[in-house]
Symmetry: C2
DNA sequence: TCTCCAGTTCGTACATGTACGATACAGCGT
DNA sequence: ACGCTGTATCGTACATGTACGAACTGGAGA
């Protein structure tokens, strides 16, 4: 029964990790993002500071776990959105995405604006789509638009381009709040409408087949 | 002659600051970006660690000074680029901008991917255009395209949208090098061409006049 | 000339992230 | 039953950014 023991171990460990994430979340809510400190977090759950490192490789790792939670919430929020027209449904993804980013700048920043030379553990880029449910919804709704004949081209390429523009919009709004974008909502809507209108008028080739000469 | 004394003071101070920036630059070149430490920097110029704070408010401030230098180089590189066709000239701005960002990710990140809630000193958002010559060139070349009838609409709005997309492209390529964008150069070119083609087909209204109802 | 003051320099101290290694303990083979 | 090994926990130590205030210094006013 050594396996059973192993399993129990892992389960316990996962539970303690969850407990730590919950405590971190509470800490952030109570004292703001700068209030999240390894020492404080450890004290919260009655551990020694260094014990936290048994569950997280890094402080970055803790932030990442928090962000993953947040993005699950985002995905849920997106999914429970009305989707009468496929293009409108796609726009809703971008709008909700932007609202989330602007409303949770710290989480957004830890996921999308911090160094990713080493991504947690060794998982490949699928982490992007597996660990980030929002991306899945985006691709799904793009595919719906293509299937409905409202967009032409490779869904993944289209989704990537939308992501690029959405991210550019959000991160600039976050980073340069004083730049005269006008109303943030309006700017998001402008970019969103612009992209959809422009994409509708073109046939988007897949990403890898783009000619590399030049 | 109290003014003259004041001036001399300021001049001296500016010189020392420049010396610090130069030393910081050398340090970064020699030991990488993590090697830049206030203590090490102070030791380089023979000061006590805390004396650095007479010239820079923050470590962020030091990085910012370094990045400003880098962006001046970028602007020079852009300006000395052939500009036969106004649209091609505009594309060249984006291409060079992207090449710079991908080639100097650390500088790019400190300028465009770190919190700007408090921008150095109290200068307004013009810091964006005054302190960052690249932005000026962008607007200038957009205006040239509009004047030549190749683009329609408000130059500042068009420039802002181009900046948004360019930044989105660069920052995603920097942050997620493992995502299958395909060849970075090709992806930059794709986004660049896409934007120019799409912008050519529309009349872009000014930023502030965008309707805010939704 | 003496006193005072603003600004520059810096010594010390603190909170933080984290590396290193010690300790304690649970499950295993002998 | 007894020691062995791997793992969870944690005490200590170090480098770092930076706050606080002391010491110094050069020029201004009495």
């Amino acid at each position: 029964m050594t396996l059973s023991v192993q399993k129990r171990r892992e389960k316990q460990k996962a539970e303690l990790r969850s407990e730590l994430v919950a405590a971190a979340h509470k800490l952030v809510q109570e004292e703001g993002y700068e209030g999240l400190t390894i020492r404080k977090l450890a004290k919260r759950v009655g551990y020694a500071p260094m014990s936290v490192y048994s569950y997280f490789a890094d402080k970055q790792d803790i932030l990442f776990a928090l962000a993953e939670d947040a993005f699950e919430t985002l995905a849920r929020r997106i999914e429970e959105h009305p989707a009468d027209d496929p293009v409108e449904a796609l726009k809703a993804v971008m709008t909700e995405y932007a609202a989330f980013g602007l409303g949770n700048p710290n989480e957004y920043r830890t996921v999308f604006m911090t160094e990713k030379t080493k991504l947690p553990e060794g998982r490949s880029y699928e982490e992007m789509e597996e660990g980030n449910p929002a991306m899945k919804v985006l691709i799904k709704r793009v595919e719906a638009c293509v299937a409905a004949g409202r967009l032409k081209g490779d869904p993944r390429a289209i989704a990537t381009m939308l992501w690029t523009v959405g991210h550019g919009t959000i991160s600039l709004l976050i980073t340069f709040p004083f730049y005269p974008f006008g109303d943030p909502q309006a700017y998001v809507k402008r970019m969103c409408d612009f992209m959809l209108a422009s994409l509708s008028a073109q046939d988007i080739p897949p990403l890898t087949e783009t000619p590399v000469n030049c």
